[in-house]
């Protein structure tokens, strides 16, 4: 396994990326104008501040999704090797799913699943 070409590629890609960015940073003439730096809203004057409030419910839904998605991900290798692990493997996944079900009961009762 030859590693030097990997190092060469890393250096080359870093150089190309920094060259492209650095070129626009150093060579471009900067003449900021009121119109140029304002927020873009399809050509209209900006109605409001572009920084809107972020509903934390979206973040909560994303976190819950990632937890249960990873639970399903863990079921995939289990499903492939269930024959070889037998009854012990079955009870292991039952325990794992049971623990995550407890977490599900907790978040349900806490109202994390109620949208509004």
């Amino acid at each position: 396994m030859s590693y030097p070409p990997i190092a060469g590629f890393m250096v080359l890609s870093a150089f190309i990326a920094s060259f492209i960015l650095g070129l626009s940073f150093f060579v471009a003439k900067l003449k900021p104008d009121g119109e140029k730096v304002s927020a873009y809203e399809c050509g209209f004057d900006p109605f409001d501040d572009a920084r809107a409030r972020f509903d934390v419910r979206f973040y909560l839904v994303a976190i819950l999704f990632i937890i249960f998605d990873l639970e399903v991900t863990f079921c995939f290798p289990w499903a492939l090797t269930l024959f070889y692990s037998g009854l012990f493997g079955f009870y292991s996944i039952v325990f794992f799913l049971g623990l995550l079900t407890l977490g599900f009961v907790y978040e349900w009762q806490k109202g994390a699943l109620d949208w509004e």
Partner: protein, 502 residues
């Protein structure tokens, strides 16, 4: 007749009945955690506040786990396909952990009632972190130690930000999270390098490998070992990695500070001692000098930085850094006296820590945040003043209190391990740290408070619940009683250190 018989052609591993018996305390703890979580969340739907209920239940659960642990079959054994290991040393440290956790839940119970913090999840998170800590302590495998470490760390990040309305707590939680994540990254990097260079995943394999091959022949193992170990130094708060300790200890609420100060040090010094003495002892001449440097800088830094502190929690945090330094110094001696000294010092540290934190909880209404706020305490509450005096004298290491035996054992073991200069620095820093502990005592006993007597809003004095006052009294008296009859201390430490070596 166990239902785990395997019928397939291949049986990679099974869960034997020995594993069930040996892991019974941990299994019981997990069942209790699940039960309390569901109980808390289902029964608080009706608007009931279950924080004290679940806290009392968790004390009960911890007492039962302790009983189960004491009834475990003795000897050394590997459990669960060599993922977990238990011997006398680990069992004794687990008993210390459980007792400390019971004390911490008792003090948080009262604190929860005072502060009207109505989340029952606090106790459940504490139990989950305790389970993670026990998993760290008994791990025989890189991955099982990492799982326990992460479980403990994640619960601690959440506990640090327990007071949701306080920016200090949020900041402390965030700082602890970022720094702890970096520490876990170091752990994984070091562990993967160690596995890559040696092919061993279990710790017991390391001792076998390194006793047959000279460590210098395994390329890269020194670097991997130091990266791996720096994660433990992070979590414990030793010197190159101590920056998070004062801010996190000060920002969190008092009950959580008590947990942070007491529980991780116990388990992590158990793990550090076990790893360094049992598994990586072949690398002794490589790790002794850098860890001695860490230890010396820890207690020098802890002693010097605490001199200028005016706030009590920050001062205790820097004191905690210097205690980590002394404990690491005892481990670095490489002798069995070092392991014995670590156990004695841990016991004295826990007793003094529990006493001081319980006293601070009892003084909650008096708004003691700065050292100057202690003035006149001996007139208003002589009992609390006595307890604080006992605790701080033990932390300083002054003779009629248990802390003296801890420091004595550590320094004698260092001399036995030929660490003369380090021991000299240790004694000097001990004297320096005595100054700021005695300054607090001077403020308590010899300064007149400027608080008006009888004014409506100036309640000064202590306010304890029955259990908390019993706990404070018990620990304070124990701090003075054990030196009168230290056989139990020496027996426990000797038994555990022999269990470590043998």
């Amino acid at each position: 007749m166990f239902p785990f018989s395997v019928h397939s052609r291949f049986s990679y591993f099974s869960f034997f009945s020995n594993d069930l018996v040996s892991l019974l305390p941990e299994i019981f703890l997990v069942c209790c955690i699940c039960l309390f979580l569901v109980h808390g969340v289902v029964f608080s739907k009706t608007g009931r506040i279950l924080s004290t209920n679940v806290a009392n239940l968790s004390i009960l659960a911890l007492v039962f786990v302790c009983i189960l642990l004491c009834c475990s079959p003795g000897g050394n054994y590997l459990a669960a396909y060599s993922c977990f290991f238990e011997d006398d040393f680990i069992r004794i440290i687990k008993v210390f952990l459980l007792l400390t956790c019971i004390f911490c839940v008792t003090l948080s119970l009262f604190y929860i009632q005072l502060e009207k913090s109505n989340t029952f999840e606090y106790s459940v998170l504490l139990l989950i972190s305790l389970f993670g800590i026990i998993a760290v302590l008994g791990a025989n495998d890189f991955l099982s130690l990492y799982l326990g470490l992460e479980l403990q760390a994640l619960s601690f990040y959440t506990l640090a930000a327990n007071v949701r309305v306080s920016e200090f707590a949020t900041e402390a939680g965030l700082k602890y999270f970022v720094i702890g994540a970096v520490a876990s990254g170091f752990y994984l990097f070091g562990a993967s390098l160690l596995y890559g260079f040696t092919g061993c995943v279990r710790f017991s394999d390391f001792s076998l490998l390194l006793s047959h091959i000279a460590p210098a022949e395994v390329e890269g193992i020194f670097l991997a070992f130091f990266i791996f170990f720096s994660s433990f130094l992070f979590k414990v708060g030793a010197v190159p990695f101590h920056a998070w300790v004062p801010d996190v200890y000060e920002g969190t609420s008092l009950n959580v500070t008590a947990i942070f100060a007491l529980l991780p040090k116990l388990a992590l010094f158990g793990v550090i001692t076990r790893l360094l003495f049992c598994y990586f002892f072949s690398l002794f001449d490589v790790w002794q000098f850098p860890f001695v440097l860490c230890a010396v800088f820890s207690f020098v830094w802890g002693s010097l930085a605490a001199l200028g502190q005016g706030r009590i929690k920050r001062l205790l945090a820097y004191g905690g850094i210097s205690h980590s330094g002394y404990l690491l110094f005892g481990v670095c001696s490489g002798t069995v006296y070092g392991a014995q000294g670590v156990v004695i010092y841990l016991l004295s540290y826990i007793l003094s820590g529990v006493t001081i934190f319980c006293s601070l909880v009892g003084l909650r209404f008096s708004r003691v945040r700065y050292i100057a706020d202690f003035a006149g305490l001996s007139l208003f509450s002589p009992g609390v003043a006595f307890a604080i005096a006992a605790s701080l004298l033990s932390a300083a290491g002054i003779p009629p209190v248990v802390g003296f035996f801890g420091k004595l054992s550590i320094f004698l073991s260092a001399l036995a391990g030929s660490l003369y200069v380090g021991a000299l620095f240790g004694v000097l820093c001990s004297v320096i740290s005595t100054f700021y502990y005695l300054r607090i005592l001077r403020t308590i006993f010899f300064e007149n408070g400027s608080r008006p007597l009888g004014a409506f809003f100036s309640f000064f004095g202590s306010y304890f619940s029955k259990e908390l006052s019993f706990l404070v009294g018990f620990c304070a008296v124990l701090l003075f009683w054990i030196p009168i009859n230290p056989r139990i201390l020496f027996f426990i430490s000797f038994y555990s250190s022999i269990g470590l070596i043998g």
